[in-house]
Symmetry: C2
Subunit: 219 residues, 2 copies
């Protein structure tokens, strides 16, 4: 991590909260990214709208790539963090746990921030796969293992039935997200309303349990 704050990190008390300023700049970068895409988001415009100088911007983040890598990392961490606590096994019924998970997963993957960041990663993937790597590692790479562990735990409890946990995870994600994410990325699908998210989560989990639940409800 060659990253650095301003020159004097915190040695001399840093008269103002420069971490706050940092987030402010990142927020501006995010909105410019939203409007113009990665290539169209110029450092000039970011600096101007953040009332910062380009020099400061480059001193803090190294270059344009470094600035947006910060954004990607931030978003990726959000996904991993927000989904984790919903996957506690044991107490509640799998239907309830999975429903909450399905709602949260949709909110995160289909939300504006995720869409914008994923667009940037995808558009830069041919020439520079680093955004995509980070996003994928912190996103799917952190969620799937937790989900696998949870599902296997419930299987051991006798509440689920499957052979390959990875396959079950694939099915669950497919049922919950479907092609919504791609359509969001293309800009042809608006963010679903909360009740639509709930309905889809309900339906997805119902199907999932019909396939992998131990108590087949149709018999």
């Amino acid at each position: 991590m060659e990253d650095l704050g301003p020159y004097a990190a915190e040695k001399s008390g840093s008269r103002r909260s420069n971490v706050e300023r940092r987030e402010e700049i990142l927020g501006v970068a995010l909105s410019v990214l939203t409007e113009r895409g990665y290539r169209g988001a110029s450092t000039r415009e970011i600096a101007r709208r953040a009332h910062a100088s380009k020099e400061t911007l480059y001193a803090w983040f190294g270059d344009k790539h470094g600035l947006f890598e910060e954004l990607v990392r931030w978003q990726a961490e959000c996904i991993g963090a927000a989904v984790e606590p919903r996957l506690e096994p044991g107490a509640e019924e799998p239907s309830e746990v999975l429903r909450a998970f399905a709602v949260e997963l949709q909110r995160l993957l289909l939300g504006d921030r995720a869409v914008v960041i994923n667009r940037a990663a995808i558009s830069e993937a041919p020439s520079d796969p680093s955004f995509a790597k980070v996003l994928s590692a912190q996103g799917r790479g952190s969620i799937v293992p937790k989900l696998v562990r949870y599902l296997e735990g419930e299987r051991d409890r006798g509440r689920l039935d499957f052979e390959q946990a990875e396959t079950a995870v694939d099915v669950l994600i497919g049922l919950v997200i479907g092609d919504q994410q791609v359509r969001r990325l293309l800009g042809v699908l608006p963010m679903p309303e909360p009740e639509q998210i709930e309905a889809r989560a309900e339906r997805a989990v119902e199907s999932f349990l019909a396939l992998f639940g131990r108590d087949n409800p149709t018999c």
Copy 2:
């Protein structure tokens, strides 16, 4: 369609196959797009590698946007055309028809051409949604109705059971594609091998029929 060939379309016999030349240029444009993305694909490089002049290029396609719109349209038509004949209802079992459909859908949506074109549409979506519109209309917009019609036909024959055909379509697509497409777009998933595609198609259709087939195999 404001499109045009060279000035004399075919009036004077067009000494060489200029449609062939056109496809040659589009092929070069596609490979440059593959390597550099939409913004990074300069008309200079396309002209140079196609041994064409920029002037010719602009005379034929109008501008950069027009050139790539041709590509998008071409790819979109391929998807719609290739999937259609596999959805003939009646003779064969739904499991067989859907399996073939699932294989073809994966081949088309996960193939290199589709990935590259979708990347371009996604990266330009914030500032110019026209690529995404075309891609979505010709792709999903043409497949889903056919699929709906097929599924409803089989339901009327008593071989499937569901209420909302659109929901069933959603489930099917989710099971077949899952998040493979997004991971392909991010560049973190290689094109699956044919046997992997077959296996996934098999599994997806099996699950689909477990949910919507009339003959529940688990009872």
